[in-house]
């Protein structure tokens, strides 16, 4: 049911926006502005309207709002104005109304700056949040190191243990040999041509 999706989306959007106090000003400036979005992946249009500091999501098309028809993969590109002419030209988006209105909605999400530590501290308390954050940082560092290590080990294995891949020096040497062979072939061709010419002259 479209209403279930819109209701859930409305809840998620407003909960997320409320975590960043700076969004209140942006929402105030966008009061009563609306965007109707028709995604190719969905059989119904969704309207987003800003009102009283919240975003309403409805399964309908709001008259006189900016109307945008596109697909989910193209949506992130809307935040880059320089891509719009090309997207319209290739038919990736169809726009009716004020495109800046659509971009303002897209930028709402892009400008989100949430202090997760502060949000977590409200539920867990300052000290547990501090420890949890430190643990998370260590886990992240270890994960990054492990990723690098796995990549390195994998390439060494493929190069030396199971020589499926070749390193750069071998590739360069092979390319040099191919160039030398090409040059030798050219010289031989020239020599043959000269011999052919001298034979014709003797006849």
């Amino acid at each position: 049911m479209p209403q279930l999706l819109c209701g859930a989306l409305e809840k998620v959007i407003n909960s997320t926006l409320s975590l960043d106090p700076k969004q209140a000003t942006a929402l105030q400036q966008m009061d009563q502005q609306a965007l109707t979005l028709q995604l190719q992946e969905l059989p119904f249009a969704m309207a987003f309207m800003v009102s009283q500091g919240q975003v309403l999501v409805m399964a309908t098309r709001i008259e006189h709002s900016c109307y945008l028809a596109t697909d989910i993969s193209t949506l992130p590109k809307l935040t880059k104005p320089e891509l719009l002419p090309e997207l319209i030209k290739v038919g990736a988006i169809e726009i009716e109304g004020d495109i800046q209105q659509a971009q303002r909605f897209a930028q709402l999400g892009q400008s989100l700056d949430i202090d997760w530590q502060q949000q977590l501290a409200q539920h867990l308390g300052d000290v547990p949040t501090h420890y949890l954050t430190k643990i998370m940082q260590k886990v992240r560092q270890k994960a990054r190191f492990a990723k690098r290590q796995v990549e390195q080990d994998a390439s060494e294995y493929l190069l030396y243990e199971q020589p499926v891949l070749v390193n750069q020096a071998v590739t360069d040497d092979f390319n040099r040999q191919v160039s030398t062979l090409a040059a030798d072939t050219d010289k031989l061709e020239q020599r043959l041509n000269q011999l052919k010419q001298s034979l014709i002259a003797k006849e």
């Binding site: 279930l4 009061d31 009563q32 009102s51 009283q52 309403l56």
Partner: protein, 251 residues
């Protein structure tokens, strides 16, 4: 309006004197007002929120509109309409029952829904508004409690602006017989018990189940709207016809 002293009407499955129905319905809603929202969530498993969302989506409301939420009860539709119509619009939450209106007013004020909402105690059969006042009138789960539904529809038609629309969200007749049987069992066996436990008032919820069965089915209500003057009338069944949204325009 003149009422024939001997005429009767339905109050659930009972036949009562026409002039008594208003008082009896008022008694039901005075009794359930405080637990109304909780009971709605429990009885419908929260689906009533989706039915109301569907009504909002189908209303075509836009900034600046004037909306009448008739039998608005605890103000679920009003809260949403208030945000859509914005500062230049207006929403009137009207209910015949003062207890429901008080609960609705307190709830909306607590939610911060103020500024463009007015509260009016009004009888749907004799709306205290000038002709051609509203762009949209909604009546959600209220029409079946009205004594004279035809008169209420005529009254709504009068206060709508030309081009305006009425949306009636109301229990209706399930489309499939199996669903009808399950629904009957739930309505007459489980629902009054839930009412008894949560709202301490099983009788009121027995009335609810009975009043739903006595309410006109989809086609009959559509015909009643047309008789009252509405045009381009249509209905959309929700949850297999347990609820239907009727829509009609005044031109």
């Amino acid at each position: 309006m003149t009422i024939d002293k001997n005429s009767t009407t339905d109050f659930g499955y009972k036949q009562v004197k026409t002039e008594e129905k208003e008082q009896l319905v008022a008694g039901v809603f005075h009794s359930v007002a405080q637990q109304y929202d909780i009971m709605n969530d429990l009885m419908s498993f929260g689906i009533h929120r989706l039915w109301k969302r569907f009504t909002i989506d189908a209303s075509g409301a836009r900034p600046g509109n004037k909306v009448l939420d008739l039998a608005g009860g605890t103000g679920d539709l009003t809260a949403k309409f208030s945000k859509i119509v914005g500062a230049n619009g207006q929403v009137v939450l009207a209910d015949i029952n003062s207890s429901m209106l008080n609960v609705g007013r307190d709830k909306l004020r607590d939610l911060g829904v103020v500024g463009n909402v007015d509260y009016v105690q009004a009888n749907a059969q004799a709306l205290p508004f000038e002709d051609n006042t509203f762009d949209i009138v909604t009546i959600a789960f209220g029409l079946r409690n009205v004594t004279d539904k035809d008169e209420a529809l005529r009254s709504i038609y009068r206060v709508l602006k030309p081009g305006g629309r009425l949306l009636v969200l109301e229990f209706s007749k399930p489309e499939h017989e199996l669903l009808n049987k399950v629904y009957d069992f739930y309505s007459f066996n489980i629902l009054p018990k839930m009412g008894d436990i949560v709202a301490k008032d099983g009788d009121s919820y027995e009335y609810l189940a009975e009043s739903i069965r006595m309410h006109p089915d989809q086609e009959t209500l559509k015909a009643m709207m047309e008789t009252a003057g509405f045009e381009q009338t249509s209905y959309h069944n929700l949850t297999g016809g347990i609820v239907a949204l009727h829509k009609g325009f005044k031109f």
